[in-house]
Symmetry: D2
Subunit: 150 residues, 4 copies
Amino acid sequence: MSTATSRRPRITKVAFAAVMRDLVPYVGQLDIRVQKLGFGTISLVMPASRQLLRPGGTITGPAQMALADIAMYGLVMSRLGRVDLAVTTSLSINFLRRPAPAAIVAEGRLLKLGRRLAVGDITLRSQGRAEPIAHAVVTYSLPPAKGLVD
Amino acid sequence: MSTATSRRPRITKVAFAAVMRDLVPYVGQLDIRVQKLGFGTISLVMPASRQLLRPGGTITGPAQMALADIAMYGLVMSRLGRVDLAVTTSLSINFLRRPAPAAIVAEGRLLKLGRRLAVGDITLRSQGRAEPIAHAVVTYSLPPAKGLVD
Amino acid sequence: MSTATSRRPRITKVAFAAVMRDLVPYVGQLDIRVQKLGFGTISLVMPASRQLLRPGGTITGPAQMALADIAMYGLVMSRLGRVDLAVTTSLSINFLRRPAPAAIVAEGRLLKLGRRLAVGDITLRSQGRAEPIAHAVVTYSLPPAKGLVD
Amino acid sequence: MSTATSRRPRITKVAFAAVMRDLVPYVGQLDIRVQKLGFGTISLVMPASRQLLRPGGTITGPAQMALADIAMYGLVMSRLGRVDLAVTTSLSINFLRRPAPAAIVAEGRLLKLGRRLAVGDITLRSQGRAEPIAHAVVTYSLPPAKGLVD
């Protein structure tokens, strides 16, 4: 992937923001914003809101998982363009630290983009903090003829 | 755990339904119902709704993950009673089949309940179907003095 | 999979024992035996040996992971026959309890057998004990034209 | 962890090489070498050998998992010194590409070092190649009074 950074993402920030907002209401309500979108890299921000708080005053795990999952969707589209029918096949997340009741930033990168599967890892941080609050590895299955040659 | 099934759950179905509805609005909106609650076993039902649909006409992954996560919360409370501050430390899910646009049933069982950690696995099925649509393994960290002796 | 149990495995116990012994020396040295082999189910036994002990007097994790991985290989072959080129794409294991310095029994079952991927879960126990010592979920990628229709 | 890189590892390369060689024969036989050892970072090399080959002419998964697991053991000791009784609680690995029949380099870093748990991620590459062949996230449980304050 040495030349990846010099290449343009195959979907714009505006177009992917619309995907997040419109495709699945349960995810769209999170009001996630696109901070950066590269060719195989992504940075998203999920604002804090009262509806995401859980006992202990932190952001609920399911919202963090939704953020990690949609970040991987964006990573796939950053390389392949709109592929709405790409689907998650597995997600594995470790919650590392109690998040502040603040916005969460997700940084993702592709580990592999094959013909049939894409794998990426996503690191979540409370906005403005250095230490990760969660780390996820997500695998997507790609629609036929959309993935690259392995 | 041979005698587990002969023991009473430490939280009632009604009380755990209230936990799901009230503690985290992002999860409460899913309107998940308690079908069965045993001493270390649980069965939950998440109704289908338009807001959970994703492209392809199936139930979005983040809602399935939220269901698996809250099922594990219930498993912990079925053994320890109300422990709102128990938190997820890891969740690993495999999506096995495309769910029907229908209610999803989660069946969970504890694999381990230690002093500091609890581990359970959760199988999701579309209501009325035999094959699993997803399988999750979830780990919770228990508040001090709440877990059992390892 | 309701009729699965009434069908014959597509590889014999003797043939799969030879696979385990001969294909990969690093796994073959574990001297794993086939206890049961069904159509989508498997039971293997790994004898204890001094070379598997780790500090604390228990069986080392890497040997448990090797056992879980080969059990999934057997599950795949129990449905598809010899498919040496099936390869692991992911393995996720939770170590639940300290194993006794004794033989370990692995019980596995298929969660999904698709056209391209197979997923199974494997539970490990110290021989003669009821509680699991580890639980793994393993995914294999199947060679083209060997898997079933999704 | 901003000052971590300026601090000395709490175990020497020579001492950790001895841990790998002596503590568990099943791992010691892999003849893994320590390339670099920092304060929360590690780089190990596992030489190729005939006994690690699997059908398809690549390095078997169980050897890659053993390498990832021991790399995390080293990460923990790089911060806490000799803690032989630290044990793996979970390991999740994705196999991304077919490894060359060559030495494998593991690069690891700590994601979290708490009072009771440490989490790290490990990336494996065939020696001399840029793309990862596998990526693992490993969690260790720390003996009482050895971990840091959360």
